[in-house]
């Protein structure tokens, strides 16, 4: 029974949105509400949070009383690698520069594809690292660190 409810798309979406609405409501209540005539910083966020909560509850109701709408499988593996790779780029850019951040990201992201061999991803990593330095830093003149703080000694 519970499993059926938790596996329903509308109910899950509703729960998530309800949580977000509640969070916004709590945070916005700290801001000055003002009056309708002179809206304070908290006014619009509160209105939106209430609206969102309303939709969220409607979604949950639809999930409970309507047809069961099961969630598709969550492709955890590709998501982890893709998002993890991009996050690692962010983490490594300042410290390692493009020449470190890009290869690491490409290799991590490469694990997401069953058809991409590790060797191929390494080669691709090198090509893309050098290529992006040439295109973005040399040709387009963007101020991106090529070699980061850690390596600059």
């Amino acid at each position: 029974m519970i499993a059926r409810y938790l596996g329903d798309r509308s109910i899950l979406l509703g729960i998530i949105l309800l949580a977000i609405a509640a969070a916004v409501l709590i945070i916005a209540s700290d801001y000055a509400l003002g009056t309708t005539r002179r809206m304070g910083p908290g006014y619009f966020p509160m209105v939106l949070a209430v609206l969102l909560a309303g939709f969220a509850l409607a979604l949950i109701a639809r999930g409970i009383f309507g047809d069961h709408d099961p969630v598709d499988a969550f492709a955890a593996l590709p998501a982890v690698y893709i998002l993890g790779g991009a996050a690692s780029f962010g983490l490594l850019l300042r410290g390692g520069g493009l020449l470190v951040a890009i290869p690491v990201m490409v290799v991590v992201v490469g694990f997401a594809s069953r058809q991409l061999s590790f060797v191929a991803s390494l080669m691709l990593a090198v090509v893309l690292a050098i290529g992006s330095v040439v295109v973005f830093v040399t040709l387009l003149g963007q101020p991106i660190p090529v070699v980061g703080d850690w390596l600059r000694g």
């Binding site: 998530i16 619009f44 893309l128």
Partner: protein, 501 residues
């Protein structure tokens, strides 16, 4: 006549070597991504927004626009030759187009698509040129109250006509607006919802969100499915020229498609995809022998192709004249204009005539370039389809990450992109579409401003929105649209129409 003088201003702007170059780059890129599955105009445009920051605004918009309607052309090529629609607006083209290809008429299908699109593009350009100034002038009468209601209408219309659950989409819009107001409150300067992160003081970057939801989200989605191999049908050059009989057969469909697309494109929520689906349904209805459809009916290619191109171009109208983006691509273009310090709205035509008319004329020039790119050069594009996705997506990711970083030289934007990649994927699994969220994100801050001003003017009376006649009409139309979208009988017909293809 005013129209001619405006067009000549536009022509002189669009013909500059620089702008011609931008147009060509845009069209080539558009064709490319139209052909390559898994990469759409939304992701590409958001990836290129940071790059265009350094260019002049007219050139940037010309290029980005070229990507958009170029993708409509490219998508039909793969739809016909490989039965793999590169764009959602080419899904209908694949039905009869691929059948024609299997019957040895690939060249005819391709030229039908290209000629239909070109005709539609020309007509759409003229419509924009004639119609836009009128609309902009009318909108100058609008005040804060009317603008607020117009935005509400725009948001609701954009989801009412689309597929999927209306309630989900509305919830996504509200969420988008909430994310949009993150940052400093325009009235008091108070930081809202920034969680102590200083880089968020200027708000969440639309490019990061777009790249996360469309770029990264799309990649995750594609990788979750299997890589499919398809063989392409060859189309030798000589077979590209249609006979007079063919032209006679395709012309009525092209005319109908152009008309339908032009109208549907202007409506918020309309655009290329809706136009092509509607055109296919229309052609099937008016055909003397509907059984031909699905088996290589030339009208099944001509109509939708004309419609999707007309729809794509006329969908610029609400954004360029009223400042209301009617779909995600337009929201990104609006974002590009804002990045260059230009506030989209009715003033753009008057304050920046070279930008406006230059863009309009270059759209026609772009259509011309695209016919050349797509017909004789089709063989080159087909070879590109050989690039395996496993080499493509890491390259796309590199581009995304670097691009997002260069916006503000801030790693926070990269993290925002990752966050929205996750959020976008989860929501998509649960039935929450990313497009309404992005629309809410773009319009949110403006809506708050108009709401604030309206309530100040009315001294706190919320009824002001129905007391002003124009605003009342706009809100009434929005209400009608909601009713239409929700009524079971109409909803079934709409789902049927979308299911057809």
């Amino acid at each position: 006549m005013d129209l001619l003088s405006n067009l000549s201003v536009g022509l002189s702007t669009a013909i500059s070597l620089q702008n011609l170059g931008y147009c060509l780059v845009g069209c080539i890129l558009g064709t490319l991504i139209g052909i390559l599955p898994g990469l759409g105009p939304a992701a590409t445009i958001s990836m290129l927004l940071p790059v265009t920051f350094g260019l002049d605004p007219t050139g940037s918009l010309i290029m980005l626009a070229g990507i958009f309607y170029g993708a409509q052309y490219g998508g039909s090529t793969t739809a016909i030759l490989i039965n793999l629609p590169g764009e959602s607006s080419s899904v209908t083209t694949a039905i009869d187009g691929h059948e024609m290809a299997l019957q040895g008429k690939a060249g005819l299908a391709l030229s039908t698509a290209a000629l239909g699109s070109f005709f539609a593009g020309t007509v759409a350009t003229l419509i924009i040129a004639a119609f836009a100034p009128l609309l902009a002038n009318a909108a100058l009468q609008f005040g804060a109250v009317e603008y607020f209601s117009l935005m509400i209408l725009g948001l609701i219309a954009s989801v009412a006509l689309a597929r999927g659950s209306l309630m989900n989409a509305l919830a996504m819009i509200v969420l988008g607006v909430i994310i949009g107001i993150v940052g400093s409150d325009p009235g008091t300067g108070r930081l809202r919802l920034t969680f102590g992160i200083p880089e968020l003081a200027d708000g969440v970057n639309i490019v990061s969100v777009a790249m996360g939801m469309f770029g990264l989200g799309e990649i995750i989605y594609n990788l979750a499915e299997q890589e499919k191999k398809r063989t392409a049908i060859k189309a030798p050059f000589r077979s590209l020229l249609p006979s007079f009989a063919d032209i006679k057969a395709m012309s009525p469909a092209i005319l109908r498609g152009t008309a339908l697309g032009s109208v549907l494109g202007i409506l918020p929520g309309g655009g290329a995809m809706l136009s092509s689906f509607a055109s296919y349904a229309l052609e099937k209805k008016v055909a003397r022998d509907p059984a031909r459809f699905g088996h290589g009916a030339i009208e099944g290619v001509a109509g939708p192709e004309a419609a999707n191109n007309a729809g794509a171009q006329t969908s610029f109208i609400p954004m360029l004249t009223l400042g209301i983006p009617s779909n995600v691509i337009m929201a990104l273009m609006a974002g590009a204009m804002i990045m260059h310090g230009i506030q989209p709205g009715p003033n753009v035509i008057h304050d920046q005539p070279e930008l406006f008319w230059g863009l309009i004329v270059s759209m026609w020039i772009g259509n011309l370039m695209l016919v050349i790119l797509n017909l004789p050069m089709v063989g080159i594009w087909v070879k590109l389809l050989g690039v395996p996705y496993r080499l493509l997506y890491p390259s796309i990711m590199v581009f995304c990450c670097i691009g997002v970083f260069t916006l503000n030289n801030s790693v926070v934007d990269v993290y925002v992109m990752v966050l929205f990649g996750l959020v976008g994927y989860i929501f998509r699994l649960l039935g929450g579409e990313p497009a309404p969220l992005l629309l809410g994100l773009v319009l949110g801050p403006m809506m708050e401003e108009y709401l604030r001003r309206s309530l100040q003017l009315s001294r706190g009376d919320p009824l002001v929105f129905v007391q002003h006649p124009i605003s009342a009409v706009l809100l009434a139309v929005a209400a009608v649209l909601i009713v239409i979208a929700v009524l079971p009988s109409i909803r079934r017909k709409r789902d049927e129409a979308l299911q057809e293809a």
